[in-house]
Amino acid sequence: MSTDKKALLDELQQAVIEGDGEGAKAAAQKCMEAGIPPLETVEFGLRDGLKIVGERFEKLELFLPDMILAAEAGNEVMKVLEPAIGASNMQASSPGTVIVGAGKGDIHTIGKNILGMLFKLAGFKVHDLGEDVSATTFLEEARRLNADIIAISCLMTSTMPCQREVIKLLNDVHERDKFKVMVGGAPVTQQWADDIGADGYAETAGGGVTVALKLVANK
């Protein structure tokens, strides 16, 4: 990679890390004008920047608002690059679509919010359904968005049955194969995930992204 090209991609990466939407947009424009292939800009400028944000969050060097601003800066970058990349290539540049939500009865959102942000930083298209989400809503939204993964978070043992209910519903409507189901939340364990037939489980939000990437790779 030439020095100039690297400098431009570094500028974009830095703007994304700082959550500077305007700066990121301008840097993306400069990359376009310098003839850097847009998918390369996504990979080595945007994606690497977002990855660094995720890593620094794990070390408590950056926090949830910083992740949100970085993701929004990433959206600005994509607005510049999307027309040049084209819809089909755009699809290829994202690992997949995830819907996230806290299960029926559960109003705890912070873990789910962090998971959603880390998914975004990893390049997933994320649709956050919020809290207290019924099994029916998970199904209907997964259908509407043609999601790859349904990720259900629960912080209470009494809301965990919702995770099983989603899987049961998918089986009942014969659509279990269409979606990968991930479960998580403080009381959720690998044993529970296995018992209810979930496709993926992780103890931490960071681990959830790793599991999701594996699930879409094997889909």
């Binding site: 969050f57 408590l60 926090f63 608002p65 043992t157 049955p161 403080a186 009381p187």
Partner: protein
């Protein structure tokens, strides 16, 4: 202090914001601004600072933030705001020495100060952790009640009723709430302490319907009822409904707030300041008898890490130096029962809480998420450490905590699970096994060497 009807009115008619705008455009920038204005800086070298100026600055920053930001009502997307005068009035009128319990177990919770030699109020038990059966529930609660240093009890949560898994919001939840109250009261009678207050209302319940319905089967106005905010600085009608019910009953409640480090409040400085805001909102919005502050490190699902100790201590110092409304601090360990790590974690948090001016709640063991993986021994140990820590200077406490955390900090991401209740306690006598007694004795001896004076 303005009355609860005014609070409801503001929840219905206050300024409108989308939830994201309230958080990202109002709360986050104003929090950053007050941290900068008051020069609040995290010092990683000192988990328990002895700097009164820092504590008072954190309190002033919290007061200012509370006035500017207020509390977001999720049901109406309206902000409940209070003037500086209303906040001062609330701090003046807030309860300062509420009594809980009945008969021989009736006791006041004091608003302690940093370095106070007043023994802390000890609210102990399961921290709402989950059990597999009613038998385990009853034995645990009886065990908690038998600890002479227990001042009030936090019961476990049931996961099944009549063999059926409890589903939130279903009739099973309500029935399980009723069962949990009946079992809790029966267990405390077995412990010969029927007057001990059950302070976490009904951990089995999620909805106001479940808790209110269940409470009619044995909860008393002298117990207490934990009602919580949602992070960051938000409240739901579901919780305000519980407040309305409790006020009509003349019952007591603990206002609870848990702000994660790394979340919307940012790092240690933000968590310390926002903890002060919750304290004020707890008095005004939740009409609390006491306030429970529970910052947590979401990386590990506990609050025993090095980084979380500073905001816990600074917030407790800030509040206890500037408010007469009592505070509780809640501990969650990463490691499970009958492990050295778990006992070190308990010792570090109890020392921090007590030296910083707090009373204690203990607590969650093994992150409070593993069924039956907690016993009466951890709360007993916690109460003994908490009493031993009363009267320590912050400098002494800081040295103890700095000695303890390095013993386990590298294992926080992969802590030992430890033993389940059934594995380390005798089922019939509800006494710990010899291995656990030996470990407990060994760690207490070690802690005494660091300056904790066990009675």
């Amino acid at each position: 202090m303005i009355d609860f009807f005014d609070v409801i009115k503001r929840a219905l008619n206050g300024p409108y914001y989308s939830e994201q705008d309230f958080t990202l455009k109002i709360m986050v920038p104003k929090l950053k601004a007050v941290i900068k204005k008051y020069g609040i800086r995290y010092d990683p070298a000192t988990p328990i600072p002895s700097n009164d100026q820092l504590a008072d600055d954190v309190f002033r920053a919290g007061l200012e933030l509370c006035t500017e930001v207020g509390c977001y009502c999720k049901d109406t997307s309206r902000v409940i705001r209070f003037t500086a005068d209303e906040i001062q009035e609330a701090l003046r009128d807030a309860p300062s020495q509420p009594f809980f319990g009945e008969g021989r177990d009736r006791k006041a919770m004091l608003a302690r100060k940093p370095e106070s030699s007043d023994p802390p109020y000890c609210y102990v038990g399961a921290g709402g952790s989950v059990v597999t059966s009613e038998d385990v529930f009853v034995r645990l609660v009886e065990g908690y009640g038998r600890n002479p240093l227990s001042d009030s009890i936090t019961c476990p949560a049931l996961t099944k009723i009549n063999g059926m898994e409890i589903v939130a919001g279903s009739p099973l939840e309500l029935l399980a709430c009723i069962r949990a109250v009946e079992l809790g009261r029966a267990a405390l009678r077995r412990a010969q302490r029927p007057g001990l207050p059950i302070m976490n209302s009904i951990a089995t319940g999620v909805t106001a319907t479940g808790k209110i319905g269940g409470s009619a089967f044995g909860l008393r106005d002298t117990d207490c009822w934990v009602v919580g905010f949602t992070s960051p600085l938000k409240v739901q009608f579901e919780r305000m409904n519980e407040v309305a019910y409790l006020l009509a009953r003349g019952a007591q409640l603990v206002g609870e707030a848990s702000e994660p480090i790394g979340g919307f409040a940012g790092g240690p400085e933000g968590v310390a300041v926002i903890s002060v805001v919750y304290h004020i909102l707890s008095i005004l919005v939740l009409r609390s008898s006491v306030h429970l502050t529970f910052p947590i490190d979401i990386r590990y699902g506990c609050n025993t890490s090095w980084e979380i100790m500073w905001p816990i201590s600074v917030a407790a110092q800030a509040i206890s130096r500037n408010s007469h409304h009592p505070i509780l601090n809640l501990a969650y360990t990463a490691a499970g029962p009958m492990t050295e790590m778990c006992l070190y974690e308990i010792a570090a948090t109890m020392t921090t809480f007590v030296a910083s001016g707090g009373n204690i709640e203990f607590g969650g063991v093994a992150k409070g998420t593993s069924q039956d993986r907690f016993t009466p021994m951890e709360p007993r140990f916690a109460t003994e450490v908490a009493h031993a820590a009363a009267g320590l200077s912050r400098v002494q406490a800081n040295e103890i905590v700095k000695t303890l955390i390095p013993k386990y900090k590298d294992r926080l991401s992969n802590p030992p699970k430890g033993a389940k209740f059934q594995e380390c306690f005798d089922w019939d006598s509800i006494q710990p096994c010899q291995e656990y007694i030996d470990l407990y004795g060994q760690i207490k001896t070690e802690l005494a060497g660091y300056g904790l004076k066990f009675k």
